[in-house]
């Protein structure tokens, strides 16, 4: 067990992740659209394989403040996942949800953080549900946890998780929106054994 490393990631695996990202983002888009009552389109997700040490600056400059929503997953797959948004996207979603003007810029209060957590939860759960359907593995997410902080600090969490097994990390970028585009990033962090399970379930074992 545990022979798999991301150094050996092949094109087929990336294709499958992209497809899961696609279905997951599709589910998420529908959920967020109905929650906010807006029309939303989305783009095909981009899957990036990055060096762990570059993860901190992968989505924006290291010191830029971003929002991270973190969930632990268990049952057939053990590990965690993260959904990340830049501040512009997070503000847009919160303001829509709270029925505020789009240019409202004040610091997030407890209610805002709770709303963001819920949006992140819906998006992350949609992604996990796509993964679960494709692999027929049972995946149970925890409650969502949120952090609003420097990109490098938040991304140190997946960097460390991936860093235990190798020097690369997988980042899935997706974009959705109507008037303004929302950028979101998914990072799935299975424990080593769970990688093998996912790959085997997808018929991709190496």
């Amino acid at each position: 067990m545990g022979k798999f490393t991301l150094e050996e990631v092949n094109d087929r695996y990336v294709d499958v992740l992209r497809e899961i990202g696609n279905i997951g983002a599709g589910n998420a888009t529908t959920a967020v659209a109905s929650m906010l009552g807006i029309r939303i389109d989305m783009s095909v997700p981009k899957v990036q394989l990055l060096e762990v040490s570059k993860l901190g600056s992968a989505i924006c400059p290291e010191e830029e403040i971003i929002v991270g929503i973190f969930l632990e997953v268990q049952t057939d797959i053990e590990g965690s996942m993260m959904f990340l948004m830049k501040m512009g996207s997070a503000r847009f979603l919160v303001n829509k949800l709270m029925g505020r003007d789009e240019d409202y810029q004040r610091d997030f209060d407890e209610m805002d953080l709770s709303a963001l957590k819920e949006i992140g939860n819906i998006i992350a759960a949609s992604y996990l549900s796509a993964l679960s359907t494709m692999t027929t593995l049972v995946i149970t997410p925890s409650i969502p946890y949120i952090a609003v902080d420097m990109a490098a600090s938040i991304l140190s969490v997946p960097a460390i998780q991936f860093g235990q097994y190798g020097d690369n990390a997988l980042l899935i970028e997706t974009e959705f929106g109507d008037d303004i585009m929302i950028n979101g990033y998914f990072i799935l962090m299975p424990e080593q054994d769970s990688y093998d399970k996912i790959l085997t379930a997808l018929g991709l074992s190496i």
Binding site: A152, S153, S156, V157, I160, G163
Partner: protein, 161 residues
């Protein structure tokens, strides 16, 4: 004019007065500095994990507390710092998400901080200040002119240790 030397994640470098060495956005990682107050030579390592011996892949020595601190010590003494005068300070090791504990990396920040203390004890280097734990990111700077270690966090006053 002083220069600012940037240290990335899983990276290390040395620095001489009047220059400044910095790393941006430490989360659960640790930023550790070694500094000789007489020659004003110092250095910083930004490591991610506590122990290289538990890892299959440990080619990047700056990624781990044990190998990273050894290498930093080698580099600062080679640059002219006196080993017996060296002092250490650490920052970082936060728990970015207040999770309840299922995940393996849950307490990694705390383990990273402990690893620094253990390694420094083995090397007989004094740890004279630390700002670790809690749940927020930190940007840190060592000012080699004074040995001051600046800690900056979002929405908080700058701390000097």
């Amino acid at each position: 004019m002083s220069k600012v030397i940037k240290v990335g994640m899983a990276d290390l470098n040395i620095c001489k007065s009047p220059d400044i060495i910095t790393t941006i956005g430490l989360g659960s990682c640790i930023g550790l500095i070694l500094y000789d107050p007489v020659t004003k030579i110092g250095g910083m390592v930004h490591y991610m994990l506590p122990d290289s011996t538990q890892m299959r892949n440990h080619s990047n020595i700056a990624k781990f507390a044990d190998t990273g601190i050894d290498e930093l010590l080698r580099r600062v003494t080679r640059a002219g710092a006196n080993r017996s005068r060296l002092i250490a300070k650490i920052a970082g090791g936060a728990k970015m998400f207040e999770t309840t504990g299922m995940s393996h990396v849950n307490n990694i920040g705390e383990r990273n901080a402990l690893a620094a203390k253990q390694k420094l004890r083995e090397l007989h280097i004094r740890l004279i200040a630390e700002d670790t734990g809690l749940n927020y990111g930190r940007t840190v700077e060592l000012h080699c002119e004074t040995g001051e270690f600046y800690i900056k966090a979002i929405g908080k006053a700058i701390k000097i240790i």
